[in-house]
Amino acid sequence: MATHDHPRCIACDELREESEAASRAKDDFFLTLSHELRGPLNAITGWVHVLRTRVLVDPLATRAVETIERNVQAQARLITDMLDISQVITGKLRLVHRSVDLAALVTESARSLGPSSDGREIRVETESTVGTISADPDRLRQVMDNLLHNAMKFTPEGGRITVRVVGNATNVVIAVQDSGTGIRPDVLPHVFERFWQDESRTQVGGLGIGLAVVRHLVELHGGSVSAASEGENHGATFTVTLPVREQVPSPDGDSFAAAAESESAR
């Protein structure tokens, strides 16, 4: 900005606007953080009370326990994402590569989200050519969980989410397509930005870190992620492309840690 002859004030204005936008984003972040952490706690507290106050017949007791578990998981995912963002910012996030059965990982992620799908159909289609890849299974699982969670958040009850996994000799591609509210073209370039939320959809909640974590984790794997949508109410597709590494990871899984560290520190 300083290299321009004239635009000192323009640069000032731009900087001020940037700083004000960052400040607003932080305010929104902490406001939403409170909302997001208290929601699952509220469900847990309520269902524990229900369990305590009555000898429940079995189906309802089972549901109480499942609801509590699901909300504990939701809150754990949120806290994991927050810690990860902090690690990403400080360049401390390390990958532990192993041999990963991608189809199994994607299927398991979809299965675990099933109980909270509220009538949304989650379908997984895997090409038989997709085998194992070298990746950090925990982080890849987090990528999948976040993408599916995001898709569910913007897909009304009764909607459909389809995960397609295809692969060739060099790349695997995971596409998560939903029939939900879609993304406006002006919003599309921002969806992977940290702490960023579509202002028109703040009621949906979320911290604006889930997709940012997805992007960072995918990039640490040497891959890329993109979002596409035909516009509002036309659904959205998030596509992750990962390289198929030839290298066989070491059993203790540390072989890529150094590389991951240098990548994350850039």
């Binding site: 406001l31 409170s34 509220n42 269902w47 229900v50």
Partner: protein
Amino acid sequence: MTELVRHYIMVIEDARDERDAAQLILEIAGYQVTAVANGEQALSYMRAADPPPCMILLDLMMHGTNGWEFRTEQLRDARLAPIPVVVCSGDGRLTEKALALGIVGQLMKPIDPTALLRLVGEHCHLHRRLDATMPTTIDGHEGAESFTHRIG
């Protein structure tokens, strides 16, 4: 099933696990509950149903018609405007927002079930007496317990 109290409580909450928990807590205590996922559903239900609910338990941040929009619409409707509203929210700045909404009570999430039942007891009891005799005094506190008991 025993006969329940005549008036129902309207629960407006978009998160299903939270909505179901609130409904069960209130039903176990003996209240009749209608639970919906957003403000629009609540408005259309209440406009069609008679009598109106004795109280509204309102979440603020919701998909669809949110708590603010609901409250604005409620106050525009002469029949629905007097129904007491208790706001439940995970918003840390609840107090000032609750005051701005002109509501009778607020509960910070996670909601303390005992506090919820106390608030409901107060306002539903009061509302029932208002319906019966239209008194202008407010002294509904001591009667909360009997109101939560199932009749019959």
